[in-house]
Amino acid sequence: MRMGAGAPEARRRKEEALAGLFETHYERIVRYIALRVGARGEAEDLASQVFLRAVEALDAYQERGLPMQAWLFRIAHNMAVDFLRRNSHRRTVSIEGLAIAAATSPEGAVALRLELEAAAAAMAQLTPAQRDVLALRVLGGLTSEQAGKVLGKSGGAVREMQSSALQSLRRLLERGSEARHV
């Protein structure tokens, strides 16, 4: 049911919720989109568009089992899909420009950086569906049920994909580690 203009209080609450989520979730959405489309600059622009699109659709938004944060990720997901469709010549996700978090201590800094680079590279080798699930869960902070609503899948299906994705990631990391120590 669409919200009529006779509910200004409800509209104001939604606007405030959206503004609040911008402050807490903007970075997560940028990281999520960056992982999906493989380019930081475009991710920042698309993340901004996610919130603008949310304003356009705000009157129609109803929290029916889909919290606003998950709704934002659904918008981000659709936007990433549209972007990739328009730029279908991009066969692989590039990790260039996806800044790696620096090591927090001098000891083992080099080893940690190598591990982090390996993790980022391994993510790029997952299937798009696996990368999507992990992006929503690990970067986006959505529960498996919420991620399911974004992807149009059940919570159980998301948990299964998540497990499979992490198994693949683990194998890729082990293979990379063995190669580094040869």
């Binding site: 006779g6 982090l116 993510m123």
Partner: protein, 183 residues
């Protein structure tokens, strides 16, 4: 429940605890000793991935995005306010009749369709700008239903924003101010 599904649920719960509730991997493994050997490499892979991709977006990008969001929310509020105002007037038969008469007079006193078309690109303080605004008023008057009017209002707001950008580039702050009052 199958072993695989059971493990998936435990892994899911541990991911929530470790990634978002500050619990350590060791604490989660201690909670599930029978599955610890399988869980540990998966949890560590998730933690490493999040660390690897936990870069902060550029602050200036976020500032720009915040500004755009603020402008969009402000426009959203204004449009909602105008819908409420217009709806109130719409219910007044006297106002509706007066508005219809005024618009007809404006059309008759104005210009033909060719002039209206020519006015489309005009900006404030140009001769045809008044024609452009009258044409918009007619369009709004004849749009039926809330959704249709909301669409027209949104389109008109977009036009004002484009005009404001044009006036800003041309260094005409007075026109920018006038247009801002119309938003």
């Amino acid at each position: 429940m199958s072993d695989a599904r059971h493990l998936n649920r435990i892994l899911d719960d541990c991911l929530d605890r470790v990634l978002f509730r500050g619990e350590s991997v060791e604490s989660c493994l201690a909670r599930h000793p029978q599955q610890a050997a399988e869980l540990e490499p998966l949890l560590r892979a998730a933690v490493l991935t999040r660390q690897a991709l936990a870069s902060q977006p550029q602050p200036e990008w976020k500032a720009q995005a915040r500004l755009r969001l603020g402008q969009a929310l402000e426009q959203h509020r204004r449009l909602a306010g105008r819908r409420g105002w217009a709806r109130g007037l719409w219910r007044s038969p006297r106002w509706a009749a007066a508005a219809a008469a005024a618009l007809v007079v404006a059309l008759l006193a104005g210009a033909g369709s060719g002039t209206v078309a020519a006015s489309a690109s005009s900006v404030p303080n140009e001769p045809l700008y008044g024609v452009k605004r009258k044409a918009e008023a007619v369009r709004l008057f004849f749009s039926l239903g809330e959704d249709s009017k909301a669409t027209v209002y949104a389109d008109l707001a977009d036009r004002r924003l484009v005009e404001m950008a044009s006036m800003t580039e041309a260094g005409r702050p007075r026109e920018v101010e006038l247009l801002g009052q119309d938003l």
